[in-house]
């Protein structure tokens, strides 16, 4: 049953050293505020799962939170490399990073299988590709009717899923709208879940009976963090700050500039700081 609490308490109660965690959001609704709080709390040895590590995991990896990354596309979308991730993989800084690499289709299916409480996912995938040669977690399953051989990957079942959403009602029911990515699957696949939201409302009032809703009994903790997806975006609230994504390339390229940015913007920050991004956008509209 979802409990409404401050972000710091939600992260402290649900994200522990050594956990397998999924901070999800496919370009949209990326839970940056929750990631920053996790960095501030000094979490270590996390196994990070995310289809597109994006700059959110570049930050967590650079800050030393992670020992392993399970992913399918590790770039700064439309910009270039994730320099902190590369530094960890290529040079072991600030610590070595083990990789478990899949395709998008395999990761999406693995989340889906996790939500469906299946032990594995199957897909018509990886045909002629080299990844199965280097990842022993890609196996096969044979159709008992046609004898077709399909690719199989383990279901994703994180200890914790962390997502950002547009709104929650007082009971803790959550609405996700727009590009919904794999967030619903991540929450349903996880043992625990933390959701940050733009706003808390009396009644959820989804725009359609078929809207994407996570009922309160699927969520562990909800924190009200306006702007919490910045510099990604919240459909209906504020836009993606593409300029920051472009600027990140320079910030993250060198360890010193990254550490300075981390000190100023994360270690010295608070969840409430994110509200200025939500406000700025609202004012501009």
């Amino acid at each position: 049953m979802a409990e409404l609490m401050p972000l710091a308490a939600a992260i402290a109660a649900n994200v522990h050293d050594g956990d397998t965690v999924a901070y999800e959001g496919f370009t949209h609704l990326i839970p940056f505020a929750a990631a920053h709080e996790t960095i501030r709390q000094g979490r270590r040895e996390l196994t990070l799962i995310r289809m597109t590590p994006d700059i959110i995991y570049d930050q967590m990896i650079g800050a030393g939170c992670a020992r392993k990354l399970k992913f399918s596309w590790g770039g700064n979308p439309g910009v270039g490399s994730l320099h902190r991730m590369r530094d960890a993989v290529e040079n072991g800084w600030p610590q070595a990073l083990e990789l478990e690499e899949h395709s998008h289709a395999a990761m999406a299916n693995a989340y889906e299988a996790g939500a469906a409480n299946l032990p594995f996912a199957m897909l018509r995938g990886y045909i002629g590709a080299d990844l199965p040669k280097v990842n022993p977690m890609i196996r096969t399953v044979t159709c008992p009717f046609t004898a077709e051989v399909l690719a199989a990957v383990p279901a994703i079942r994180p200890d914790v899923a962390v997502i950002h959403a547009q709104r929650a009602d007082r009971k803790g029911n959550v609405l996700v709208e727009g590009i919904v990515g794999v967030q619903k699957e991540a929450v349903l696949a996880a043992k625990r879940s933390v959701v940050t939201v733009e706003e808390i409302v009396e009644e959820l009032q989804p725009p359609s009976p078929n809207s994407v809703v996570l009922p309160h009994w699927t969520i562990t903790a909800i924190a009200h963090v306006p702007g919490g997806a910045y510099p990604s975006y919240a459909f209906g609230h504020y836009q993606r700050n593409n300029a920051f994504y472009i600027a990140w390339d320079k910030i993250a390229r060198e360890r010193q500039s990254f550490l300075a940015w981390l000190q100023d913007n994360v270690l010295s920050g608070r969840p409430e700081d994110f509200a200025r991004y939500a406000r700025r956008q609202a004012a501009a509209e």
Binding site: M51, H104, L123, R124, G125, I179, V180
Partner: protein
């Protein structure tokens, strides 16, 4: 508008021409996104553009920086979850045309976007495959756009991220694939198509003002040329102006914070 057409513009325009109103197109970021939207804004207004973020039949006014910019969802007919995108729409066989690019390509249009060097101890760690492995196998046909160069067009790939024509010939069919695979590689210098039999990439059209020798020199393997190599028609004024307009709008939008 500048009178000089850049090689990247020529590549984008040539790629756009490969698309029709009937295409249901899985769009990647960069040149594919520009080409698909150029086609939509010129000769193929009814083309269906799909981004892997889940946005279906989207009509962005500016090119997205990521495959999940808000613009894509706001202008889409509808938006599905990412598992649904990969299950029902891509694997479901609903996509006629997939667009791919990569860091490296070989003569059979296999692509590498994973690592340079050994996988366990890479010289360069690239972003990885993302949607590419299954885009390559599940779309009706694949178009590839890449700028040429000997570090990109290589004799042997260190890693096959997504299969093109594999070892050539009927390799795709032998693996049970019923889709066509890459039907054209559209570069900044020329257009290549796989030989009908061997599936080796063959230059079939060279862009205006580009010397055949320059094309050959930009490939890491001895490049085959068709018996009759065409000259790619020069960009029309409309193609150029529409492309430059959308790119100007895009630059403006992405610089605004």
């Amino acid at each position: 508008m500048s009178e000089t057409v850049t090689p990247t513009e020529m590549m984008t325009i040539a790629a756009a021409r490969a698309l029709t109103n009937a295409d249901i197109c899985f769009v990647g970021i960069g040149a594919p996104s520009a080409a698909c939207n150029l086609a939509r804004l010129t000769h193929a207004p009814d083309i269906t553009l799909i981004y892997e973020s889940g946005t279906i039949a989207t009509k962005p006014d500016v090119l997205p920086l990521s495959i999940g910019d808000g613009e894509l969802c706001e202008t889409a007919l509808f938006t599905v979850s990412v598992p649904e995108m990969f299950r029902y729409w891509l694997q479901g066989g609903r996509i006629t045309t997939g667009f791919l690019g990569g860091a490296q390509i070989d003569r059979f249009a296999n692509l590498n976007t994973t690592v340079v060097g050994d996988y366990a101890h890479p010289k360069v760690r690239l972003p990885g495959g993302g949607g590419a492995p299954e885009i390559a196998s599940n779309c009706g046909r694949i178009l590839i756009t890449m700028a040429m160069g000997t570090r990109a067009f290589v004799e042997k790939l260190p890693f096959i991220t997504s299969m093109g024509h594999g070892e050539g010939g009927d390799h795709r069919a032998r693996l049970g694939l019923k889709t066509k695979g890459p039907t054209a590689v559209i570069t900044d210098l020329c257009i290549m198509e796989p030989d009908p039999l061997t599936k080796e990439l063959t230059v079939t059209s060279i862009h205006p003002g580009v010397a055949r020798e320059a094309v050959a020199a930009a490939s890491g393997w001895p490049l085959k040329f068709a018996t009759a190599v065409a000259e790619t028609p020069a960009p029309t004024a409309e193609e150029l102006s529409v492309l430059r307009d959308i790119q100007a709008r895009t630059r403006h939008a992405h610089k605004a914070a």
